[in-house]
């Protein structure tokens, strides 16, 4: 039975779901874009607040879900990213001719799914969360379906995601076949006497399913196409909330399940990490489409993050927390700028790099935000990204994984090339270039404010990281 504590721990998820229902009913009653946004934001904010309130409970374990510090962090990040996406969508969808309100419904559902995923302590909730996260995303990606690219993105993600889910399910079945359990503690107990071949195959297939969501190489091919085609806010959500949730669950199972601790599995994970960070950066090298480029960049960043999966100790959890936060605010900032410059009735999203030429001389602050975001992605000191990179390298050095450290160094060096290319484009001025512009009052709107806030956060976290660092140092997984 659910206890009072369990209920309290569940409050944020319940709140998000309730908001979703409210929004749905609201749409049925009367379409009102602004109100919908307001309600969504209100609901998400309340959920965030409740998260803070109930964050003091300590680890709470229900049969299917676990609420530990990592869950809280993950939920917090998902809520923040959903909030940001909601505000971006408001600006983005403002002039959209079709139905606008359903987007928020999908967003809220996906957020709820992500939150469940971060708390998953059972393969059933894992599956449930993952699907609840993914299904609305198909809709969101194809939301501006009159645009071919958007539709294509949605369908691609749908089909490939289904394939990945098939692997995941099969993997779960194999795990069950080996151990007779679906809950993670049970799985761990079942493997205590040794990892059987089915279990190994099972975790392998589960890994495939999750790696797809994280676009770990070689399961990454969908990423650039979907990033490029999907509408800005949807891609923002995909790049942030969806990945954070999937990463947390991966971290959880890798840390818990002994099958991942064998030498071979470790080597495999390290190889995947190395491959991903190098190939992600290599792919982005000459990319001229900003959204695609950010897609590749996210591949690379999850390559770096895989180092935490490989090491999977106390410091690794802390590192993951830091890195995810820095990644989150940076990516939100970058996509936020892209979204603010785009709008579905103005044709394709402003993703080609040449739209950004000389942006600084027209919209200095907006360009400055993108600059900071790019520098942060590149990991330049005094931005959040550097703190993340610092942690990842520290983790690699501490664990004496020199190959991975070398990979990070090389990957970062390659990465600089394209981040800098984007950055400098913002400052070049050459006459006769096609221009895309944000509305003049962008800075006063919610989306603009959020973007500015994110930029401030990026710098603040680079300059004064110690509160976040302190907070993250308290992180631990319930299993350990």
């Amino acid at each position: 039975m659910l206890t009072r504590t369990d209920m309290m721990a569940l409050t944020p998820v319940i709140l998000v779901c309730a908001t979703a229902i409210t929004v749905m009913l609201g749409i049925a009653w009367r379409r009102q874009h602004a109100v919908t946004v307001l309600v969504s934001a209100l609901g998400l904010n309340t959920a965030l607040l409740s998260l803070f309130l109930f964050g003091e409970l300590g680890t709470v374990r229900t049969p299917m879900l676990v609420f530990d510090s990592v869950t809280i962090l993950g939920m917090g990040m998902i809520l923040v990213s959903s909030l940001a996406c909601a505000t971006f969508s408001h600006a983005y969808l403002d002039g959209f001719p079709g139905a606008r309100e359903e987007f928020y419904l999908l967003l809220l559902c996906a957020a709820a799914g992500g939150m469940v995923l971060t708390a998953a302590d059972h393969l059933a909730t894992l599956f449930f969360g993952l699907e609840l996260l993914s299904m609305p995303l198909y809709g969101m990606l194809a939301y501006t379906f009159r645009d071919r690219n958007s539709l294509e993105a949605g369908i691609k993600y749908l089909v490939l995601s289904a394939t990945a889910t098939a692997f995941l399910l099969f993997g779960m079945a194999l795990l069950y076949a080996q151990t007779g359990h679906l809950d993670i503690p049970g799985l761990v107990a079942g493997m205590s006497s040794g990892v059987g071949p089915w279990a190994l195959a099972g975790v392998g297939l589960v890994l495939v399913g999750l790696c797809f969501k994280l676009s770990i190489i070689p399961f990454h091919l969908w990423t650039p196409d979907v990033y490029q085609g999907g509408p800005g806010p949807a891609v923002t959500f995909l790049a942030t909330a969806s990945k954070v949730a999937a990463f947390i669950v991966l971290l959880r199972i890798v840390e818990a399940i002994p099958a991942f601790h064998g030498a071979q599995a470790q080597t495999l994970l390290a190889a995947l990490a190395l491959l991903t960070m190098l190939a992600g950066n290599l792919l982005a090298l000459l990319q001229a489409n900003l959204k695609r480029l950010l897609g590749y960049s996210s591949i690379a960043h999850f390559g770096y993050l895989m180092v935490a999966i490989v090491v999977a100790d106390k410091l690794a959890v802390e590192t993951s927390g830091i890195y995810l936060i820095t990644y989150l605010i940076t990516t939100l900032g970058a996509f936020g700028v892209v979204t603010l410059l785009s709008s579905p009735y103005g044709g394709e999203d402003a993703s080609a790099l040449h739209y950004y030429r000389g942006l600084f001389w027209r919209r200095p602050y907006l360009a400055a935000v993108l600059t900071v975001a790019m520098l942060s992605l590149a990991g330049i000191p005094f931005t959040a990204g550097f703190i993340g990179k610092f942690y990842i390298i520290a983790l690699g050095v501490e664990a004496q994984r020199w190959w991975l450290v070398a990979g990070i160094v090389v990957g970062s060096a390659i990465g600089l090339y394209y981040y800098l290319r984007v950055t400098i484009t913002l400052y070049l001025m050459e006459p006769g270039m096609q221009r895309r512009d944000a509305p003049n009052d962008w800075g006063l709107r919610a989306g603009g404010l959020v973007v500015l806030l994110l930029a401030v956060l990026m710098i603040l976290m680079g300059v004064y990281p110690s509160p976040v660092v302190h907070w993250m140092s308290l992180l631990s997984l319930a299993g350990s």
């Binding site: 394939t163 071949p197 190994l200 195959a201 091919l221 495999l268 190889a271 290599l282």
Partner: protein, 620 residues
């Protein structure tokens, strides 16, 4: 008293240089010249005072430390001056002869563009040269040493629009700099071994530390010699001097005859204690001197440019000085240095007078028959030439050169003595060839036919004073070296001196007679001899000064150019294109996988999953 005035000897020229370089916009030609020679003139006055004061005192070396240049650990060179017999002698030559040449230049450079620049360089040169001889430590000496080199470079390349002049200046600087490297390494060695660069301390410490013939002492002596060879244009670093004649003639007189080129002689004399400990190095000094004086003597025979003849003659005379140093006759070397400064300055200034009078013509073939038109220059050439050829008794050159030969004889260095005698013969030959070619015979061109004699005090006074100094009157100025430099081997010995004097005189006069006969009466025959066959070959060989230029060109210059051209594109940097290209290739390859086709993507997932499982299975 004299000591406190000592800094003025270089500060005055420095002030002149500063005034000229900062105010060059506002100074006219006359004002520039006036600043230029007045500053050196005042320095000369101060020098006169110092010399009198010094000579009337007890002549002990004194030193004046202005400030510590830099002090780290035991490395504490100072800006310190030393006043002793040697530096007084050098100081007198530099400021005295320097002033006369500065004065003459006011006439010579009249109407030239950039005369302010000229005087600024000249003053800077005097400043550096004075520091060179006054410095009480080797680092300060090195400062002067490099400073004069720079000024020499600038003045050779004074006519900057002519590429040839620029190249000559460049060459001069580079070749002397090669010598300077040796000097610098010598400094490092001396400092490392002795812990000081102070000259007096070095000369004090060295005998206590090293016995005679100690390899380190030999090495140090040879390294310093390397520096001296470059600056004094001795074999094999002599090739720059003849080309250096591209500069204005007063420059050749001051820098490339009277002062800078003798710095090497000064250096070795200054460091005599070291050479006393290094007999091999000292012997090499003598041998190089002998070889140079012969080589340059022959080369001087086959030159057609009057300044080049004088340049080779300078090399040859410095060869004599080196020869003297090589046999341990330091005083004789310095004495010859001083006398040489007088008569060679005279010769160069006279040559300058000829060149300006004949509208910048210095090719001997296009001069000739000028003795009536240019009597003062002719007199200068006659007296200077006589001193150069060491005409017995009446000329100063006789006394100084004779002493060198005598010391060589007394040191029982018969080879060196023989070289000296042959050199004397050569000297007479080329000197007479020069005088006859320039002043007698037919005028070779319109420029010579329309020669305007120089006029005025600035033209006349320096020539006359130097003429006086080049005669036996000049030889009466005995430098006060006895307290500074050890006695030469010939000191106090008299046996055979008269015989040697007779022999030397006979050589000089005999050479003169042969030359007179050859160049006055057998001209046609001479022309035929050098026109073809072995005579022509020899002429060319000597004309090109034994082919050293070609040798160095082949040995050093060309490989250098090849190397530079080969490296031009920065090969090492180009290596870094490899990783860049690899990255690009990978990028190209990986981007191809992004086909945009769903089936490819799905396939890749399945394949990836299969691989992943396979990898896991292999470990199981």
């Amino acid at each position: 008293m004299a000591l406190t005035l000592l800094p003025l000897t270089f500060l005055l020229p420095l002030a002149g240089c500063l005034i000229l370089s900062l105010g060059y916009r506002h100074l006219g030609e006359r004002a520039s010249a006036a600043v230029g020679y007045t500053s050196v003139g005042l320095a000369a006055l101060v020098t006169v005072f110092i010399v009198i004061d010094f000579l009337s005192g007890d002549r002990t070396p004194q030193s004046l430390t202005l400030w510590t240049w830099v002090s780290v650990d035991n490395f504490r060179p100072t800006i310190g001056l030393m006043l002793d017999g040697l530096s007084v002698t050098m100081l007198g030559v530099i400021t005295g002869v320097g002033f006369l040449i500065h004065l003459f230049a006011a006439w010579y450079m009249r109407g030239e563009e950039g005369i302010t620049r000229f005087y600024a360089y000249m003053n800077l040169f005097v400043f550096s040269m004075v520091l060179l001889v006054l410095g009480d430590n080797l680092l300060l000496l090195f400062l002067g040493w490099e400073g004069v080199g720079l000024c020499s470079y600038l003045l050779i390349g004074y006519y900057y629009e002519h590429t040839a002049n620029g190249m000559a200046a460049f060459k001069a600087f580079v070749v002397t700099r090669i010598g300077d490297i040796f000097l610098a390494i010598g400094l490092f060695l001396l400092f490392t071994e002795l812990g000081t660069l102070d000259i007096a301390t070095i000369l004090d410490k060295a005998p206590a530390l090293w016995h005679r013939g100690n390899p380190i002492a030999e090495a140090a002596a040879l390294l310093l010699l390397g520096g001296a060879l470059g600056k004094s244009a001795q074999l094999p670093l002599h090739t720059w001097l003849a080309d250096a004649m591209a500069g204005p003639t007063p420059v050749s007189a001051l820098i490339h005859a009277a002062t800078m080129v003798t710095a090497g002689v000064y250096l070795i004399a200054r460091m005599h204690g070291l050479y006393d400990l290094a007999p091999t190095a000292q012997y090499i000094v003598g041998v190089i001197g002998a070889l140079t004086l012969l080589m340059a003597g022959f080369a001087a025979l086959a030159q057609t440019d009057i300044k080049r003849i004088l340049a080779y003659s300078t090399m040859s005379q410095i060869g004599y000085m080196f020869l003297a140093l090589g046999v341990g006759a330091y005083s004789a070397a310095i004495f010859h240095l001083m006398i040489h400064a007088f008569f060679k300055a005279l010769l160069f200034l006279s040559a300058g007078a000829v060149i300006i009078s004949c509208h910048h013509e210095q090719e001997m073939a296009r001069l000739g028959g000028l003795w009536r038109k240019l009597p003062l220059a002719y007199a200068g050439f006659l007296i200077g030439g006589a001193a150069l050829a060491a005409l017995p008794l009446v000329t100063a050159g006789f006394y100084s050169k004779d002493e060198i030969l005598w010391e060589a004889f007394a040191a029982k260095q018969n080879g060196l003595l023989a070289a000296g005698l042959v050199g004397a013969l050569l000297t007479s030959l080329y000197t007479l060839r020069l005088i006859i070619g320039t002043f007698h015979g037919e005028q070779g061109s319109d420029k010579a036919r329309h020669a305007d004699p120089g006029k005025g005090l600035q033209h006349g006074l320096p020539l006359v004073v130097l003429m006086v100094l080049s005669t036996f009157i000049g030889a009466a100025l005995t430098p006060p070296l006895a307290d500074v430099l050890p006695a030469g081997p010939g000191e106090g010995v008299e046996a055979g001196h008269t015989a040697l004097e007779m022999m030397a005189s006979a050589t000089a006069i005999g050479g003169g007679l042969i030359a007179g006969w050859l160049f006055l009466f057998r001209r046609a025959w001479l022309k035929r001899v050098v026109a073809r066959g072995p005579g022509a070959w020899l002429w060319q060989f000597w004309h090109r000064a034994w082919g050293f230029d070609a040798l160095f060109d082949w040995l050093l210059v060309r490989p250098y150019h090849v190397l530079v051209r080969w490296l031009q594109g920065d090969l090492i940097d180009a290596l870094f294109l490899i990783p860049a290209t690899v990255v690009r290739l990978f990028n190209a390859g990986l981007v191809r996988t992004q086909t945009g086709r769903l089936r490819t993507y799905a396939t890749s997932m399945v394949l990836g999953a299969a691989l992943l499982l396979l990898a896991l299975a292999m470990g199981y």
